[in-house]
């Protein structure tokens, strides 16, 4: 167990990092630890726990802006926003159930800093962007031990480099973030989902593509193959196992009603369809967003020890990618479970851990389309052996090392969490 520092102020964070820099001692940067099992395992003697830096420091609903300390639990942020009928439009996912299962209940809600550092975004990514797109300002401590800030609290700002984007998805390898400002938006009045039953993957992606290319402002499109759909127990799903393609619209009541009808009219002719309203629709998208089909149940069983991949491809190629992967897996394809989000652009794969969770096949199948695959869940042993994040092109890799070095010349901040040398 690493020796753990738990500072209560940004100055204390700077003290710890300065000390570590002087000692050339790597430190693990932690928020609430909900995603500690995500990424390459790091070998650090010390960890920097930011979970004592909590609290919303500014929330002006009229200005659509919220600032909070980085360790603030997401549950607290979401509750404050819900009180004002607002939300984080990027629909941050909670990987707690996926990574820790029910055993991790006390840490299942991650921190705002963790969500931004991993650039987590849910189904609304295709319409509203990722965490990066709502990240307005930051304050933190660089690997040099210096307190710095970037950005601001207004939505339109091009003053200086966009270091928020750089920190979104940097997994704590550049700086320890202490204060975060995000754009918030009014939550929609109503949510409904059009369900199409029994489409095969190719037809589902086609239907989703058509929906996304319509003017009905679709805010999410996912497809659960029959095996996966049956895990979401809902009376609106068909009795017999069929795939479910779900297309979500949100907004004022009359608009939602109108758009659902139009979508069913345009897409429903292909197959049997239904609608999910408010509560049912919300639970379906929570199920998809939090990758519940592959969540840990805490009970030994098939799939409990599967590795989970998150694959991003051009949306219209989603079904083709899966077909190509199945073909290359041959007999092993029977062990593959998957579902689509982001209109086919995000594919969640579960595969047995043996044969390195098929990393070769998973990544090779990307080449005709472009994209990347991240090993979101696997044993520490496997995460040590295979590239968790998509290997980088040589030029990008060299540049990334230099960028890392510009914040963290001693390589002490979460070193190796993403890539060796970064």
């Amino acid at each position: 167990m690493a020796d753990r520092f738990k500072p209560e102020s940004i100055e204390q964070v700077a003290d710890v990092v300065s000390w570590a820099a002087a000692e050339n001692t790597p430190i693990e940067i932690l928020g609430r630890g909900s995603k500690a099992a995500l990424g390459r395992p790091t070998q650090t003697e010390y960890s920097l726990d930011l979970s004592a830096l909590t609290g919303i420091t500014l929330y002006e609903p009229d200005e659509l802006v919220l600032s909070a300390r980085a360790g603030t639990p997401m549950a607290e942020i979401e509750a404050a926003l819900a009180e004002q009928n607002q939300y984080l439009a990027f629909e941050p996912a909670d990987y707690g159930p996926l990574l820790n299962g029910s055993a991790g209940d006390d840490v299942t809600s991650g921190s705002l800093g963790g969500v931004m550092s991993c650039n987590l975004a849910g189904p609304r990514r295709i319409k509203s962007g990722a965490a990066r797109d709502h990240f307005l300002g930051l304050k933190g401590v660089s690997g040099r031990g210096e307190i710095f800030q970037a950005g601001g609290r207004v939505v339109k700002n091009v003053t200086g480099y966009d270091l928020m984007k750089l920190h979104a998805g940097a997994y704590g390898t550049l700086s320890a973030l202490t204060d975060i400002t995000v754009k918030v938006l009014p939550a929609p009045d109503k949510t409904r989902s059009v369900l199409l039953f029994g489409l095969d993957d190719a037809m589902a992606v086609k239907a989703m593509t058509q929906a996304m290319g319509s003017s009905h402002e679709v805010s999410a499109a996912a497809c659960l193959p029959a095996e996966i759909a049956k895990g979401f127990e809902n009376s609106h799903f068909p009795d017999t196992a069929k795939s479910v393609t779900a297309i979500r619209v949100e907004g004022p009541g009359p608009s939602v009603t109108h758009r659902c009808a139009a979508l069913r009219n345009e897409l429903g002719a292909q197959t049997e369809s239904n609608e999910l309203h408010s509560h049912n629709s919300t639970s379906l998208w929570t199920y998809i967003r939090n990758v519940m089909p592959f969540a840990l149940s805490g009970q030994a069983g098939p799939g409990e020890s599967d590795a989970v991949w998150r694959v991003s491809v051009p949306p219209a190629s989603g079904a083709e990618y899966v077909a190509a992967l199945q073909q290359s897996l041959g007999d092993q394809a029977a062990g593959l479970r998957y579902f689509f989000d982001w209109s086919g652009g995000l594919i969640w794969l579960a595969l047995p851990e043996d044969a390195d969770a098929q990393q070769q096949a998973v990544r090779d199948a990307l080449s005709p389309y472009g994209g990347h695959a991240t090993l979101i869940r696997a044993s520490a042993d496997l995460r040590n052996r295979v590239a968790v994040f998509q290997p980088l092109d040589l030029g990008i890799s060299a540049l990334s090392s230099r960028v890392k070095n510009s914040f963290d010349p001693h390589g002490i901040m979460n070193p190796g969490r993403m890539y060796a040398g970064v």
Binding site: A22, D62, V158, D189, G251, D393
Partner: protein
Amino acid sequence: MLMPEPDQATISRKLDIVMKLREIVPGEGVIADEHELKVYESDGLTAYKQPPLIAVLPETTEQVSQVLKYCHDEGIKIVPRGAGTSLSGGALPLADGIILGLGKFNRILDIDFDNRCAVVQPGVTNLGITKAVEDEGFYYAPDPSSQIACTIGGNVAENSGGVHCLKYGLTTNNLLGLEMVLIDGIVLRIGGKHLDAEGYDLLGLMTGSEGLLGVVTEVTVRLLKKPETARALLLGFSSSESAGELVAAIIAAGIVPGGMEMMDRPAIHAAEDFVHAGYPLDVEALLIVELDGPKAEVDYLMETVSRLADEKGAVTKRVSESEEERMRFWAGRKAAFPAVGRISPDYYCMDGTIPRNQLPHVLRRMREMSEHYGLGVANVFHAGDGNLHPLILYDANKEGELQKAEDFGSDILRLCVEVGGVLTGEHGVGVEKRDLMPDMFTDIDLKQQQRVKCAFDPDALLNPGKVFPQLHRCAELGRMHISRGQLPFPELPRF
């Protein structure tokens, strides 16, 4: 405006450099003639002028790569340029540097409606993208007012905005991929047609980096389906306070309009005199609220906004009943800059962003400054996102007025920062706001940003003299003063 001291040795080697560059870019792609170079002497910020040493107009990524590598090896400075519409002097040349014009990269390479994206070369104009896809009902969302001329490459460099930012985002929110060339000639591809590139978000870092990090040679943009319909309300108020209250009330009602623009009395009068849009002349503030989206939604929300406008005391109210009428509402706003150009020999356009609720305070202080400097000011304001464009009226032919206008502008921007805002919302820092950066950032903040610059361009050859008030050598920035301390922090909770 103090620019880096020109290197006389480079200037004296001009002929040799021209010869070398012509080996890379044949024909008329290398411009060395002083008269021809005058075309490049300034950008949209016309107060500053400086012809470049040479202009190079490459046509391929390979040529860009070779030019950069040559300049890197020889220590020659480079200023990249799109259409030259920058309002912050981002493309202002250097006497000892070459202008790298990307105008010949003007082809649309791929339009992929299924993946809702287009791959284009950086010299394609912003509006050119929309024109190429509108037959299928798609468009490219960011719409800076120079969209007919400005290029997508320039938009990436400046992270350009427009009037629809609150709902549809800036350039950075509408990009998927880039091809770029580093100063040492290395060509990198970031992202593609999928979402979120692997590794660090270099795409996000590049966007808005003002040509200081690399040269963009290809851009993949997101395309959106055109909203089914758009309708606008034209609202007059007897004070900017009540107009501001309506803006807050609309957002509090959960509505995010496609556009929300405010003009003050001087701007209203200038615009009305120019285009006769039918604006009311007896109001202090004019608000255009545009709702777009599915027709059922727009019609429904129009009623809410209209009711809120009554509650907040709108003294005039018109609702667009046709596309023609909606365009007429916008005509005055879109012509606001040239309209102001008619009432004053020169005007200086500022670009701060403020928290919206500070608007009345900022306008009041601006009026005081206006009296202090003896210069008029007209305001147009992206009310939804707090982006303010004060237009300072002056006459460049009058001794000292340009300086006064610049001082006035600096005071306005400092005020923006003071009330919690920022120096620039969409025009960029460039040379214009460079020396104000310390008003917003500490020395440590700025040095950290410059270290990022060092990771890309260690010899500071790309667009030097822009964005950062002080040039530091990368070796000096990289140094760390370390004093070793004891591990146990007695005051620090440890577990």
